[in-house]
């Protein structure tokens, strides 16, 4: 009994210590961001690594998610004779929800885990320590550009995901199932609102961009510098990012759409 209480207390303390370290790191990273505008090349390089290299998985997943939405939406709508609205269903599902959320989950798996592993290994091989001794702040030189790159890449990836998803839905709905071409686009244009739908989707992906990049660089920087420690940190990045994205998605959706 006493032992389990003790364990609970210790785990609780550890949790709050990590939370504190995480926030301190975020503050340091944010303080390092202004300096990056003078050396934007560092950020561009990271945008290539986390953003451009994630494009394949984002585009392929987007097409398939859109195709599934087209198929499922059509099967439901056709019972009510409302298959003309397929464009709206596909676009709204993607822009409001699936675009930002699935992109964030894929991003955590593709880029977040890579960031954590890279930073963790740099720590394990004393590269971060060496930078410190060369009077180069690793937070500013290594962590901040990666964080900013994740933050910038996420909304673009989400937008690309939604766009190719809508094309995937078009291919299935209009191309294979015979929904009217004009109705697919015009209803979509009519019902999808710039402010309510698109902007809110972008806000979501910006929030996810911050959270996933933050978790990834924190876990990497906080990893125990051994191969086991880095592997555990990488796992934690993916698990914590996924949970944070799904939890935050509910909160954001409630704030945005829950009148």
């Amino acid at each position: 009994m006493l032992d389990s209480l003790q364990l609970l207390g210790r785990k609780g303390l550890e949790f709050f210590q990590r939370l504190g370290r995480g926030h301190l790191l975020l503050l340091q990273v944010l303080a390092g961001l202004p300096g990056l505008f003078l050396r934007f090349g560092l950020v561009i390089k990271q945008i290539y690594a986390v953003g451009v290299l994630s494009l394949v998985i984002i585009v392929v997943s987007g097409v398939f998610v859109g195709m599934v939405l087209g198929l499922q939406g059509y099967n439901t709508l056709v019972d009510f004779g409302a298959e003309e609205s397929l464009g709206v269903v596909v676009a709204l599902s993607l822009v409001r929800e699936l675009g930002p959320v699935v992109t964030a989950l894929l991003f955590a798996g593709r880029a977040g885990s890579a960031l954590t592993a890279e930073i963790g290994l740099m720590k394990a091989t004393e590269q971060l320590s060496a930078m410190e001794m060369m009077a180069v702040d690793p937070v500013r030189r290594v962590l901040a550009p990666r964080f900013l790159a994740g933050f910038i890449s996420m909304p673009f990836l989400a937008a690309i995901f939604s766009a190719v998803g809508i094309l995937g839905g078009y291919f299935v709905g209009v191309g294979l199932l015979g929904v009217d071409d004009g109705a697919y686009w015009s209803q979509m244009q009519d019902k999808v609102d710039m402010y309510d739908d698109i902007n809110n989707g972008i806000i979501k992906s910006l929030v996810f961009g911050v959270v996933v990049s933050w978790i990834a660089i924190f876990e990497g920087n906080d990893a125990i510098p051994t191969s086991e420690g880095v592997s555990r940190a990488t796992t934690r990045t993916v698990v914590h990012s996924a949970l944070a994205v799904l939890g935050l998605d509910f909160i954001l959706t409630a704030l945005m759409f829950g009148e």
Binding site: M131, M133, A135
Partner: protein, 270 residues
């Protein structure tokens, strides 16, 4: 001022958790000298370098580096001081996403506004000094252990530091690269007017180039002097360490109950 030792360590104490690593250590590093800090594994030799570099803070005592107390420096001042130190890490710690040239150019690009043409000349000079000018386009993963350490050495002297710290520079080197490193450390120290600190437990190599030797054990300085003086030292511990004897003040056996008794008691315990 210039006669004062470059590094003055006074009454230094440091512990990790319950483990006491240093307990009242005094060390002086003379300007222009090569000083070796030796001791068995786990005596906190690397920790000492981190304390001098300001990456760790001592529990007690002080580290005075060129007249500045390292643990009380603010970040900016500490970073300015670190630009004047070079550190050679145990495994080189080269940045793995850059080639050899960019690794050595890294501190120059970070800290100086020099033109690329000038940086190129400087990098090539440093590479020439360690004999690897031809390897400038290789990636760190393509280098052998000894080459990686020489590249790291070139990077450490890129900013023309006043002091070099070597963390186990000879560990895991074949005899040839070991000889190369020994010679490089000594010639660089004399040619560039550096002050060098070598942390090591490779006795023969280190003693060959060190002006001063400190032996550390159990958190204290056990013996101190030139390599010859230490060889004649009457400290039993120093003799055991320098001659690599298996048994002596540092016992071969981990503390245990009496051997014969232990064997006879087998049925009762296990």
């Amino acid at each position: 001022m210039s006669d004062a030792p470059l590094v003055q360590i006074r009454n230094l104490s440091f512990s990790r958790g319950d483990r006491v690593i240093f307990d009242g250590v005094d060390i002086d590093i003379r300007r222009g000298s090569v000083t070796a800090i030796m001791g068995p594994s786990g005596t906190g030799k690397t920790t000492l370098l981190r304390l001098i570099g300001g990456q760790l803070k001592p529990d007690n005592g002080s580290v005075l580096l060129d007249g500045e107390e390292v643990q009380h420096l603010r970040r900016g001042a500490l970073y300015r001081l670190r630009k004047r130190m070079g550190v050679l890490f145990q495994n080189g710690a080269l940045l793995t996403d850059m080639n050899v040239f960019d690794n050595i150019a890294f501190p120059l690009r970070e800290h100086t506004g020099l033109s690329e043409a000038l940086i190129r000349s400087l990098v090539l000079m440093k590479l020439e000094a360690v004999g690897l000018r031809g390897a400038r386009d290789l990636m760190p993963s393509e280098l052998s252990g000894g080459m990686a350490r020489r590249v790291a050495l070139a990077r450490a002297i890129a900013m023309d530091p006043m002091m070099m710290m070597y963390d186990e520079p000879f560990t895991g080197q074949d005899p040839i690269s070991m000889g190369v490193l020994v010679r490089l450390i000594r010639t660089l120290n004399d040619a560039l007017g550096l002050t060098s600190i070598i942390v090591s437990h490779d006795i023969a190599e280190t003693c060959a180039i060190a002006d001063d030797v400190y032996l550390l054990s159990g958190g204290k300085v056990v013996a101190h002097g030139t390599a010859e003086a230490l060889g004649k030292s009457d400290s039993a511990w120093a003799q055991q360490f320098l001659n690599g004897e298996a048994d002596g003040p540092v016992a071969f056996h981990y503390p245990a109950a009496d051997y014969a008794e232990d064997l006879l008691q087998r049925e009762h315990n296990n």
